[in-house]
Symmetry: C2
Subunit: 240 residues, 2 copies
């Protein structure tokens, strides 16, 4: 019944040309923290895979007050907030070394059977009672994002470098494909305030996808579509 704390240092290969950690880097570190903390509590991927079950990220949101700089050390605090039959919530707070909050994140996870890809009852698969921390949520929960038409789009075929140990496209790769569609000025403006991501369907090696985007001063919206037109992932970025 306590939070986990995990230390990071922003490496040169994790910054963009502004020498600040990219959104992808922050997302990777946050998800890494989730994995480590689950592992430490005995329900990490290693344990789950022994039973042919695995974690699936369903929704994810990150708020960014300040993107840490190259070589900056910072700390991610994490805890499990609740668990229901189908979904568990894990929160995060990002702290700099002066003890200031520089961001926060919230994530919703399900457990699937790796063969059938069907969601399983969390409460009968993970011993959660001892790990839930009754702290207040650090931010509004990850939003449900509606369909968009998109004012422009690009095609993308899922490649070797996109897929992870789960044999599907990695969670942060969707965000990489999406943000690569935006003007460079926007990505390097330091105005990133919040991203909300909905993961709706996994995508596999060789799948041909369409990444659609629409964008205005304060908000960018994205949809990754499969060949049958269904959405695999949607996201919304809010700008300061």
């Amino acid at each position: 019944m306590e939070c986990g704390f995990y230390d990071f240092q922003v490496q040169p290969r994790e910054v963009d040309l502004t020498k600040r950690a990219t959104l992808i880097t922050l997302g990777d570190h946050i998800l890494h923290t989730a994995g480590e903390d689950a592992d430490r509590n005995g329900f990490g991927i290693r344990n789950l895979h022994e039973h042919n079950i695995s974690w699936v990220l369903s929704r994810f949101a990150i708020e960014v007050d300040r993107q840490p700089e190259e070589y900056e050390k910072y700390r991610i605090q994490t805890w499990v907030a609740d668990v229901s039959r189908v979904m568990t919530t894990r929160h995060f707070i990002l702290w700099d070394l002066n003890g200031h909050e520089i961001g926060r994140a919230s994530s919703l996870w399900a457990i699937i059977d790796m063969q059938s890809r069907q969601a399983l009852d969390l409460r009968s698969n993970v011993q959660y009672t001892d790990v839930i921390v009754p702290l207040e949520a650090p931010m509004p929960r990850p939003a449900r994002i509606g369909a968009i038409a998109g004012t422009w789009s690009e095609e993308h075929t899922v490649r070797y470098s996109d897929i992870d140990f789960n044999q599907h496209a990695n969670s942060m790769k969707y965000v990489e494909w999406m943000t690569d569609l935006l003007p460079l000025e926007k990505m390097t403006s330091g105005r990133l305030a919040r991203i909300d991501i909905n993961y709706l369907h996994e995508t596999r090696y060789g799948e041909k996808l369409t990444i659609a985007a629409e964008d205005n001063e304060t908000c960018s919206r994205f949809e990754v579509r499969r060949q049958d037109g269904s959405a695999a992932c949607r996201a919304m970025i809010q700008w300061k």
Copy 2:
């Protein structure tokens, strides 16, 4: 006059579906080691940038006996072997925790003026005398790679996620574009023996590139071409 040793652990986001560290991961770790060790010896990027000069990777080769597994800890040994007017050689040996060599690497570096992008005399810019370690080279030096026609190719526009703090495409991104052209079976075969890479010209955000490839049982060759037809990068992979 001693080698540096740097410890790594293969993280879940650094493996492919075979749960072994990817070539990109190994290259990232090796280049990270080079950066850390240069930094520790007082001629890292941080020091150089204060004088508006920077390191540029010219040639790089990696030999892989065994790709370390997910969560496996391993160690990279590195040292500076020599320094001439225009180029310095840095070697690496990858060790597993049982003290077995699992790979090695060799790299050639120049120093450029960040404004003019011209190469500078290394000996008048870096105090090297004290750091050269007179150890035998762990492998044949990175090869010069000739032009190829290519039996197939893909277009690629340099994106936000491709560029690093130097404002050009990151060294390992070329390898990512290249290896994404190969059949998945080849990349996951565990037969990777050696890659040699020649960096010939930097590429900038928005540049349209052609990535050409040719491939047989024992050898894959690649060329990244700029719009004027000149080569930005060439590489050759040898397979066991």
